[in-house]
């Protein structure tokens, strides 16, 4: 579980869509010790122009081959740097970081709800849940951004796809697909969600209405990634007069029960 500072070799990199890349990295430590929901914090610059590491969730591991995968969207200079790396090159990585989703054999029926790049840690999660009935609901902006659909289909009993513009799947938000499932016949034991803040907030509200446990993976601008600089604050409920405290996404999260989070 312990995060280590590692220099690991890129084994492959593949462009999945216009801005989304999947990278496979050799790392015995991370492939063996990581759990779904955890992330790696990667240096994305050779000099000192970009100082902050980029936190990217792990989207799969292969323990036999000693590799793990990350999938990321090119958003700025850091992820652009990453997208231009070649197999054989080395990356400066801290990982695995943060807390994982809580899995339990008691969860017989599991709902997975992801939006945009939030689907990647959920793919790893869905892959690792072996003995439950899994329904994966994934949403994208449009058909051109759909990635990993086949892999979700392989590891889920049911997959629901939607797009904001209706160019593929249903024209709906993931939360609408979720609501339908929650109103259906199956008694769901837990919802795992990752995606834009407003989506997760809505997922939380639905989970609360239906009295179902829900875990979310939060995002915040991050500094050290190891819990020391206290940059990536998030409001979490606690005992005491105020009723909340600032915890930190990198160390106390990124995964929280949605009922612990103060949604704003």
């Amino acid at each position: 579980m312990t995060a280590k500072l590692l220099y690991e070799e890129i084994s492959s990199i593949e462009r999945l869509s216009e801005r989304i890349y999947m990278m496979r990295i050799k790392s015995e430590h991370i492939s063996k010790s990581s759990k779904p929901g955890q992330f790696v914090n990667i240096r994305c610059c050779e000099g000192n122009e970009l100082l902050l590491r980029r936190p990217i969730s792990i989207c799969g591991t292969d323990i036999q081959k000693g590799t793990f995968d990350i999938t990321f969207m090119v958003k700025g200079k850091g992820t652009q740097y990453l997208s231009q790396r070649k197999p054989g090159e080395t990356l400066d990585i801290i990982g695995p970081c943060g807390n994982a989703f809580e899995l339990s054999e008691n969860y017989k029926n599991v709902l997975v709800a992801g939006g945009g790049i939030g689907i990647f840690p959920l793919l790893y999660l869905a892959d690792m849940i072996r003995h439950s009935n899994k329904c994966s609901l994934i949403g994208f902006k449009s058909s051109s951004e759909i990635v990993m659909l086949d892999r979700f289909k392989t590891c889920s009993n049911k997959v629901g796809v939607c797009t904001d513009d209706g160019s593929a799947g249903e024209k709906a938000f993931v939360t609408e697909l979720l609501e339908k499932e929650l109103n259906g016949k199956i008694k769901w034991d837990i919802i795992y969600a990752c995606g834009p803040y407003e989506m997760m907030k809505k997922v939380h509200m639905l989970s609360a209405e239906h009295g179902i446990k829900c875990q979310v993976s939060l995002e915040q601008r991050m500094g050290c990634g190891i819990g020391a600089c206290l940059a990536c604050a998030c409001k979490i409920k606690c005992r005491g007069s105020k009723g909340w405290t600032y915890k930190h996404v990198c160390k106390d999260g990124p995964v929280f029960y949605s009922s612990e989070v103060i949604w704003e």
Binding site: T2, A3, K4, L5, R43, N48, E49, L50, L51, L52, R53, D92, I94, Q220, R221, M222, G223, C224, I226, G227, A228, C229, L230, A231, C232, A233, C234, K242, T245, Y246, K251
Partner: protein
């Protein structure tokens, strides 16, 4: 034929404020926590010292996020002194941080002079080796109230001096008219050393949302982007005071540290470096050693302030 200098292992020890440091590299306050997280990556005992995360009388939640933004060769932060408060520290963290075989410097902040005095008194009764007066945090309303004028610096330093039984470092803000005057005021008021610079007030804007990236709007800039300013200020300050100067501002390598030492710093602090890489302080120490060794310099003390001006 070039003569090959016999390589020597240089002496990195320094002694300032009556305290012995095994090397001149100290982790800067706010970037190393209380050492716990870093101890998983680096033996804190390798460092010359650790300046702990700022402590206040009462716990503080800090600012609303986002608290950090990346700028060219820099980091802008507005953490806002989130800390568990002095009582929690004394009860739960001090014993752990004292396990590290290094000099422990408690950094303190407050809303009023009496806050600073109260914390100093409490810490004077503990085993921390020194106290660093943070009168320069740009991220809290009252952060630089005491630190931006010579009168303010004199007032708070002399009041804390009366109750502080430990070596006292005054950490200065660069967001001021003349930092050297503030340093001289701290010296007159009885400070044992000056540390500088704290972060430079800055801003980053998201052009898509048309809002500042930081929720607090403004934040403190650190990292290599501030190094030239920090060096100039360290040089100006070191030329004006007799007490030791601890230099910081964007130190990422041994060579960077050497620049500060040449400019007059007796020791250096590295902050942003820790955020970038939890073991970078060690590389800085090794870099200093290599520089001295290459030059055949026996002790790091020999080069403090050795800069020759044009």
């Amino acid at each position: 034929m070039e003569t090959v200098k016999k390589r020597i292992k240089p002496d990195l020890n320094i002694e300032i404020m009556g305290l012995k440091f095994k090397n001149p590299v100290i982790a800067a306050s706010g970037t190393f926590g209380f050492g716990r997280e870093f101890s998983k990556f680096i033996d804190p005992g390798l460092l010359g010292g650790i300046a702990l995360k700022a402590l206040t009388l009462e716990p503080r939640e800090g600012n609303k996020p986002p608290r950090i933004a990346e700028t060219p060769s820099g980091i802008l932060n507005s953490v806002g002194l989130q800390n568990p408060g002095i009582e929690y520290f004394l009860k739960n963290e001090l014993i752990n941080v004292k396990k590290y075989n290094t000099v422990i410097i408690a950094n303190i902040a407050g809303n009023s002079i009496s806050d600073y005095c109260g914390i100093s008194k409490k810490l004077s009764a503990t085993s921390v080796e020194a106290i660093e007066l943070n009168i320069s945090c740009p991220n809290v309303k009252e952060g630089t109230v005491f630190g931006s004028t010579p009168e303010g610096v004199y007032e708070i330093t002399s009041r804390v001096r009366e109750v502080c039984g430990k070596p006292l470092i005054v950490k200065l803000t660069p967001n001021t008219a003349d930092i050297a005057k503030n340093a001289m005021a701290a010296e007159r008021a009885g400070a044992d050393a000056i540390s500088l610079i704290n972060t430079i007030l800055g801003m980053s804007i998201d052009i898509h949302t048309e809002r500042p990236v930081l929720n607090a709007n403004y934040g403190g800039l650190s990292g290599p982007a501030v190094k030239p300013i920090a060096l100039r200020m360290v040089h100006q300050t070191a030329s004006c005071v007799k007490i030791p100067v601890i230099g910081m501002g964007g130190i990422m390598s041994g060579d960077d540290a050497i620049e500060f030492i040449l400019a007059g710093a007796s020791a250096v602090m590295a902050g942003t470096a820790n955020i970038v890489n939890p073991t970078l302080c060690y590389d800085i120490i090794m870099g200093i050693e290599r520089y001295l060794s290459d030059k055949g310099i026996k002790s790091v003390k020999e080069i403090t302030g050795k800069l020759v001006m044009n």
